[in-house]
Amino acid sequence: MKKNKNSDSPSNRLWKFFASVKLTVTLLIIIALTCIIGTVIPQNESPSADSLRYGEFLYRIFRVLSIFDMYHSWWFQFLIFFLAANIIVCSIDRLSSTWKVIFKKTPSFDIAKLKNSCKEEFTASCTPHELKTLFLPLLSKLFKYTNMQDRDNGFIIYAEKGRWTKLGVYAVHFSVILLLIGGLIGSYFGFDGSVIIPEGKSVKNVILRNTGAGQPLDFEIRCDDFNVAFYESGMPKEYRSALTILENGKPVLTKNVIVNDPLRYRGINIFQSSYGAMQPENITLSFTDRNTGTALRKKISLGEQIDLPGTFGKFTLNKYLHSYNFRGHNLGEAFAGTLTPPNGEPEEVILPINFSGFDKMRMGSIVISPEDTEQLYYTGLQVTKDPGVPVVYSGFIMMIIGCFITFFISHIRFCVEVVKKKGKSIVIVAGISNKSITGMEARTKKLNKLLSDTIRG
């Protein structure tokens, strides 16, 4: 590149700086070393915990350097872009010359170089002319490019293939750029949020993870049902949310979402991420007449008032208590209600869910005992949008293909020289590759054997 320019001009020096492999190696080492920091110092924890752990002084220094969120800090991103610029300039700088080499119509050969490489030879009892009619079709079938030159006492055939594999390394470099572009697209046009949906409810907004702001969706997500299954050991086996997508209030899609099997709809991905128990909203109570023993079962919701039979009056379910303390003992979840006799003072009744006989102690003429609550769950979903994913995935594919080509497919060149000697012919097979030397020795032997076999049979 830029060969015509004065080699000392500032732009040229800048280009050379970015085109250097020394810079690549330096950057790779610096990035690898700085990456370690973020694995040792916990990222994105609460500032109070951080300042306690490191003391005020270190905490302030780390804070200034964004050590607590270092992978998103300006200096780390600067290093990444420095590397990207380095990769791009390096690739452009070398690609132009590689391109010329690859797409040359008549590749040139350096005989001296070939002769210094892996070499095999054998003697054939026929003339060079006979060998030419045998070798030339065979070699042009095996190799992409062949070129024959006659010599005074014989001939030379050049054969080669795999010139295009020199492009592999550019595919790898381009794939890294694709990954970075995909990442950028994701961070500019995507979002990462979460939402909690109680069973039977639906939501239209999610909370963004970074900022905590609300992000409206174009549709509603309804949680029809949530289930958690356990193994016998008590270890969780499966978290499953039955979700329905609603467009303008109409259901359009229903799917069971489990971990590793998200729901994808209109570019939005919905993942199972957590769950929890909702506070119960209703309970089935049994009202037992202490004198007659007759019982009445009734389901009652929070805030509801029911009429009790006979002279017992009314009962109201007032509130849910997360934990109820009775004389220093925690009795766990409980409901609180009010019993109002037809003519008398209202009386508070506490109904711990796990202690159904608790109300007997009140010594009232009616005993109220909780029977069962309908336990509702909420599902915690992660809701993301990342339009960069297809770009990143194509980068992945390109990286694997590129690495494979670069490492394992070589540009191989052979030179088959036939020299006449006392009515016989000496065949010299010399080969060179830009990759493994040992592999090439085996290849040369193989070609040598193939050629000698062709003569015999």
Partner: protein
Amino acid sequence: MNSSILLSLTTFIYGFAAFFYIVSVVFKKPFFGKTGTWTCLAGIAGNTGGIIMRWIESYRFGIGHAPLSNLYESLVFFSLVIVAIYLVVEKTYANRSLGAFTTPLAFLAMAYASLSPNISDRIQPLMPALKSNWLIAHVITCFIGYAAFAIAFGLGIMFLLKQKDSQGKVPFIKLFPDLHIMDELSHQMIMFGFLFLSAGIITGAVWANSAWGRYWGWDPKETWSLITWFIYATLLHARFMRGWHGKRLAYLSIIGFIAVLFTYFGVNLLSGLHSYGR
């Protein structure tokens, strides 16, 4: 006979193989080298059999899954790949001295898996996050990569020993392959490992994207795998572009393998999403 017994037996077989290779190198007795090869083959049979039996047993317990789900199972697979790659190299290069440096690694991995009190060899059911077809692809690609780097590490040490002893004073070092062959072979191993490490990181990213909705999250294990990737990328650039050879590359290869070990074990000391690998 169950998988645990068979795999414990395999540990001893690898121990014997390592012993035979070391004896063969130290006392220059080719007979022991050949015995080492046959012992290795027996070890591979036991190792493979153990993995298959464990797979079948997990189905018998009604929690069927590929035996690649925790530290014990990964170590067992790691040993298998190390020995398998080593035997291919032994056959290709017709030199058994490398066996004295690689089979001990397989033995140590198996012994650590079987004997460490912190590692449970019980067949456990899969937690929801691990129930994915990507599990097999991710673990296999990663450990093929790690095993290739382990062999490159062994070669790196052999290279440095041989280079220090250039006059051939120590008899057993004379048996090592030529410096340029070890250099070339270790380069081959690193390219092979790099391809599989890349594939391992990529399958992990695709899996993470289907389990957690993000392909990269700077989790300590992810970050350490990237650090390892950077170290080997540095090595490849130094060799391809700057013409580095020999000693400096051997050192880089050793540093790279230390990063591999940290990615594999050390990260468990830190917190993160890969906690089931403990």
